[in-house]
């Protein structure tokens, strides 16, 4: 097994490819209001920030994959008329990976953190949850590409647990209100939801280390999103819930300890899988080159 994982292609290549295709599809097919200039600026700023942080933290190698993935996520979700704000969001996203860490692990998914921070700080940015409508073909496409990504990074459990929990929240609410099933089905046929489930909450660097922990976390995020959307009546419940509940991940990891995820060795986190002493290497004060390489590739 060790041999197989060592020769496996980094799953983030798939992710970069899948997200790039979807960004282009959205721009040209759905005519998103985001301009190509803004896409270029967001990606360029994300890469530049990654490079700067690589130098500041003296990491041995510049790895653009994670920064690209975060940047592409922003291209999907962030809307603004002001290019400077798009650039600022990209800086926040990448810098958060380096600054906001707990025991060597990210606290927040960079894209999610940057979006929520900008929504809170500025009234000139917004997220359009309905921008893809409920076009079935598009949903299918995202699911397919997303499924590919999560399967290859061994974190599909959190995605499926989240989708199941969120479906339960929506169906349960409809049943309680006596609404026709067309309503929760419509709410589930949402491109933004699939992007969130397959490309954001599945972030292996910020989700709990064990399968049980991830399922618990996914259920909590779904409940939180329901609270934001149907009790507080605020939009973007998924983003807010995920951001707020991310701070519980260290606690969940403490209660349900497992093996830390590394891109070079994607495992599900079960203690029987992988190498038992692996986590201690991450915590070393002066990481050897191999561990430092992972830090450079730190999450997305």
């Amino acid at each position: 097994m060790t041999t197989r994982t060592a020769t496996r292609l980094d799953p983030r290549y798939w992710q970069v490819l899948a997200l790039s295709c979807l960004v282009l599809y959205s721009l040209f097919w759905f005519h998103f209001s985001t301009s190509l200039i803004q896409v270029a600026l967001t990606l360029g700023t994300a890469l530049a920030t990654q490079y700067a942080c690589t130098r500041i933290w003296r990491l041995p190698a510049f790895d653009p994959k994670s920064a690209l993935i975060s940047g592409l996520g922003l291209c999907f979700l962030l809307r603004t008329n002001l290019p400077l704000l798009a650039a600022a969001t990209a800086v926040i996203a990448i810098a958060s990976k380096f600054l906001l860490r707990w025991k060597g692990k990210h606290v927040w998914n960079p894209t999610n953190f940057a979006l929520v921070a900008m929504l809170a700080l500025s009234d000139r940015v917004w997220v359009s949850p309905g921008q893809w409508g409920s076009v079935a073909f598009f949903c299918f496409l995202v699911a397919l590409l997303g499924g590919l990504v999560v399967n290859r990074s061994a974190r599909s459990d959190v995605t499926y647990a989240f989708l199941a929990s969120w479906a339960a929240v929506l169906l349960g609410r409809a049943l309680w209100l006596g609404q026709p099933m067309a309503i929760p089905l419509h709410q589930l046929q949402n491109g933004t939801l699939l992007i969130f489930a397959f490309h954001m909450i599945s972030d292996p660097k910020t989700t709990p280390d064990t399968r049980a922990g991830r399922i618990l976390f996914a259920a909590l995020v779904a409940l939180g999103a329901g609270f934001v959307q149907f009790v507080l009546y605020r939009t973007n419940g998924l983003l807010w819930s995920y951001a707020v509940l991310s701070v519980t991940v260290p606690l969940i990891d403490r209660i349900l300890p497992g093996v830390r995820f590394a891109w070079s060795r994607p495992v599900t986190g079960s203690p029987s899988q992988g190498v038992a002493h692996e986590p201690s290497r991450v915590a070393l004060p002066a990481p050897p080159p191999a561990a430092a390489g992972r830090l450079g590739a730190a999450g997305r």
Partner: protein, 456 residues
């Protein structure tokens, strides 16, 4: 017995309509030249929104017997008398005309003269002008509570809360409203979400006293995080798609739906000159075609404009007085808008208001849930605008004229295709109407050999 004018429920939106005389009577939106009816069964709603404050204006042009008129609208809170107002329809008609898709016309200059002369006129579709107390014990037994009763203007208004839809349905029946089958289930959902019900009927005595020949728009102001337009009640017994225009007035930026796709209407396309004479037909066909292309699932943005920065304004903008009538509480009150711009520095007539016009054609199959809205930070301007260019008709004898005529032929051919694409009208018919064959504008591969013989 009072019956509710179903369509009026204006909002199909909000409403819970209680029964609908067939095909009726309300139908808010006529655009026109020559009184052409543009959209039947249309409702107009003005939404003024900032933070959690909302002012909702429901307009109607109900023309039937006022006795027959009533609406039931779910609202988030119990409304005090001061939160209800009966307004004037003129500002709504003005807002409608101000934001309507428009046609702009240009005249080609003499191709033999270097200097350009351009003339521009704007043709926008013109909006057509467009027993009180029940036994308390009985109400208790039904689980219905009359939270308040008011007479405002020509309307008798009751604010109800209910514990269960059966009781509410019975109460409405006993008070002269006929509820369409299926409404009870929809009502139940609103009751569980702790919504109240705003029920209005016409007070004939008051109406006679006031002397209005039409029913004026009802306005309500409330504070709630809910930013939704309940359309489900309006679809309970609708016999086809309904048309809704939402005019949102905000401080910060454009309004969009979060649970449906909001799509911009095509804009700035060049269309054949004959469209000028049938712009209403064009608008209706174009809208229908766009709905079809979006599989009937989208909400359309027809206009988005920062009224604080049009100097000069392209059309006659709404005055501060009109905006206040529509419920824009921050205009003219000295309250500084969030953007920090003070009203006093606005250029002539401009106001610190962002206006959004949304147009949606909905039915149960494609719009299963109520519209959920959000205010975005988007302050970019957009208008549904179409362009016609009149060819130069004068003499032109020079080398440039030859080029001009060639470009003109290409242009007219392109215009025909654009129009066909926008409206779904058959290309052949458009070409015939433009008489394309006569000036050789039609690409050769589209011509049959006999088309040029008589040029008809």
């Amino acid at each position: 017995m009072n019956r509710v004018a179903w369509p009026f429920l204006l909002l199909p939106l909000l409403l819970l309509a209680v029964w609908a005389p067939p095909a009726a009577s309300f139908c808010g939106f006529y655009v026109a030249r020559g009184d052409a009816k543009i959209f039947n069964k249309a409702s107009k709603v003005v939404l003024v929104r900032d933070d959690d404050r909302t002012v909702l204006t429901m307009a109607n042009d109900f023309k039937g017997d006022p006795k027959e008129f009533a609406i039931v609208v779910p609202v988030p809170t119990v409304l005090q008398k001061g939160q209800i107002h009966v307004g004037d329809k003129a500002p709504i008609d003005h807002l409608d005309a101000y934001t309507a898709p428009r046609l702009v016309e240009y005249f080609d200059p003499d191709p033999c003269q270097v200097a350009y002369r351009e003339e521009m006129r704007v043709a926008a579709p013109q909006a057509g002008m467009s027993k009180m107390s029940r036994d308390a014990a009985r109400e208790r037994s039904l689980g219905v509570r009359v939270e308040a009763r008011y007479t405002v203007g020509e309307y008798d208004i009751v604010i109800l809360s209910a514990k269960q839809s059966g009781g509410l349905e019975t109460w409405l029946h006993e008070n002269g409203y006929t509820i369409p089958r299926g409404a009870s289930r929809v009502l139940a959902g609103y009751i569980k979400q702790d919504m109240k019900f705003f029920v209005a009927k016409v007070n004939l005595k008051e109406q006679a006293k006031l002397g209005f020949s039409y029913l004026r728009p009802i306005q309500v102001a409330f504070e709630s995080p809910k930013f939704i337009l309940p359309i489900r009640l309006g679809m309970v017994n609708a016999d086809g798609p309904q048309e809704l225009f939402v005019f949102a007035l905000t401080k910060n930026g454009r309004v969009e739906t979060t649970n449906y796709r909001t799509v911009r209407l095509p804009s700035d396309a060049e269309v054949p000159t004959f469209v000028k004479d049938e712009f209403s037909d064009f608008y209706r066909a174009m809208f229908t075609e766009q709905v079809r292309k979006e599989r009937g699932e989208a909400v359309f943005l027809e206009y988005a404009w920062d009224m604080g920065w049009c100097d000069p304004c392209a059309a006659d903008p709404l005055s501060a007085e009109e905006l206040r009538q529509l419920g824009v509480w921050w205009v003219g009150s000295g309250e500084t808008p969030r953007s920090g711009r003070a009203p006093s520095i606005m250029p002539g007539g401009a106001q610190p208001v962002f206006v959004t016009r949304l147009h949606v054609r909905y039915d149960r199959a494609h719009f299963p849930e109520d519209l959920v809205l959000q205010q975005t930070g988007d302050r970019s301007n957009f208008q549904g605008r179409f362009v016609i260019r009149h060819p130069w008709k004068g003499d032109a004898e020079c080398r440039g004229a030859e080029d001009y005529r060639r470009q003109l032929r290409e242009r007219r051919s392109r215009e025909a295709e654009t129009l066909s694409d926008l409206t779904g009208w058959p290309l052949d018919r458009i070409r015939r109407k433009m008489n394309l064959a006569s000036d050789n504008s039609m690409p050769d591969d589209n011509l049959r050999w006999w088309d040029r013989i008589w040029a008809n």
